[in-house]
Symmetry: D2
């Protein structure tokens, strides 16, 4: 990896600001874990940035129990270039801002993970936090979100380092 290429890339879109409000805590968690990171909105991310990253973390609001259509378009169209292959073996992760429990946030998160698994990416669960990635609902207290997002930022960084830096 080139000197100045960040290890992790966060791609996200937001609807009411909830998903966007998780980005900074995740970014900080990655830095706290000793990683480097850039963040991009879904409409500004470049395919070359996706190719360069060792880990790609995608944030989406819940839209009818699935990922936002612009996120889906990014993977159906942009990330379809050269598929299968180019994202294989990278770390993948997802985070979601939702409404209330049972409102589809977990289904949305898993749909995003399915996309990443299709590309051959590496996913890790978390036994001690939210299990599949950070989920922020309407009533989640900010400090709980910060804790969970920070923990996941560190978790993803640790996996990138375990896979790419252990030599």
């Amino acid at each position: 990896m080139e000197e100045n290429t960040p290890e992790l890339l966060i791609i996200y879109t937001t609807k009411n600001g909830r998903t966007g409000g998780m980005v900074e805590s995740i970014r900080q968690g990655i830095i706290d874990g000793g990683g480097t990171v850039i963040t991009r909105r879904v409409d500004e991310v470049q395919w070359e940035e996706m190719l360069a990253a060792e880990g790609i973390i995608v944030g989406t609001p819940v839209r009818f129990g699935g990922v936002d259509w612009e996120i889906k378009r990014l993977f159906d169209v942009t990330a379809f270039q050269g598929y299968p292959g180019p994202l294989d073996g990278k770390v993948g992760g997802a985070f979601v801002g939702g409404g209330r429990p049972g409102g589809g946030a977990e289904l949305c998160l898993l749909s995003m993970l399915h996309i990443l698994l299709n590309h051959g990416m590496v996913i890790q669960g978390h036994a001690l936090s939210t299990h599949y990635g950070p989920v922020m609902l309407r009533d989640t207290p900010q400090e709980e979100i910060d804790l969970i997002c920070n923990a996941w930022g560190q978790h993803w960084t640790a996996l990138v380092h375990r896979l790419y830096r252990s030599d």
Copy 2:
């Protein structure tokens, strides 16, 4: 349907009491909706009761993002009798007691719905409440649970009546 056979059957198991704590509000919602109902624990329900009901509602605690193994055994072993066929066309539903958002409650709920769909049962979502069935987490206030469970009890009853009583 015989004179005294209840329309809806609630089958449930509970781990810390959270799932069990939803039963009464759901039962009340069914009665408020003009329906009749019996409740059975997973280890006491009879196959004949499942055959007699017009709607079967199953409650399970979240166990590693899936349904409790005793609930699974009920369907893998008991409800396997005469499959496919005997539960076809009945109303199905599920409710789940879980821990925190992102802890697997929605995945568990959907796994239960998959089982019911396999049997040819009829499922309805809810646009105005939790979308797939009631989900109660550790921090959900009791009044919110009562509201959601009652609404779902009425929702399931309305579907049973729409399917079986419109003549």
Copy 3:
């Protein structure tokens, strides 16, 4: 329902022709079941047609284990009008053209059903056929597809009639 409004609406998009190739057999199954139907491509369907139908059946190719982004946009943007409410209580269904077993076709089908459940729609599984809706893979023989799609067309029509015509 007005005299000439079809009961069922099929909305679909296709990638390699496999999903599109299922439409005619489903349409025929609906007619064989005594129903009326119109078919629309995702880029031509009108919101008014969705409002008028008693059942909406959506066909999508598998795209990374999820629904095609244009289908997702239809529901995120067009069908978001007046949500929640306008599609509540209608029959919903999905069909999918995919590649090989384990290639994501079932996950895609279920993602589509999640969207429909969010709207409060009514879904029925099938104990005697593919359980959640028709799935056609690369190696599925045409006669098997025709059988399954026809059976599901009849299945959906029967549910529409059971819900709307039993008086």
Copy 4:
């Protein structure tokens, strides 16, 4: 890891022999990939063997769109010991024997992966094969199964080596 402890542990159960029929090809793939492996049936595996392995691969027949209840019991009861924690960071994987396309095999596979993610395990998708793990249906030709299972055996071994042997 002790001298003679196998790196990978395959745990499985079988119903009609289809899931069991995948074990040998997966085992061979692991060996072809340079790994070591033991296989255990669900009723004979020891918790200590699960603790000792660096990767745990679980095979289950499709049972109503979910994992077999005995597999579920293994994780709900046996693997609940010391949870969360003891399986964290290990490689996880799943394989499934099913009936026909749309019969629930993918849903079952994903349910198994959810369990493993709950434990903090590391999952990798496959861009060039079945995406989430090997799936064998009634009509899948034996040579295709052997190819897919062998490829996945090698894939899992490569991930174990990448995570544990890169020093």
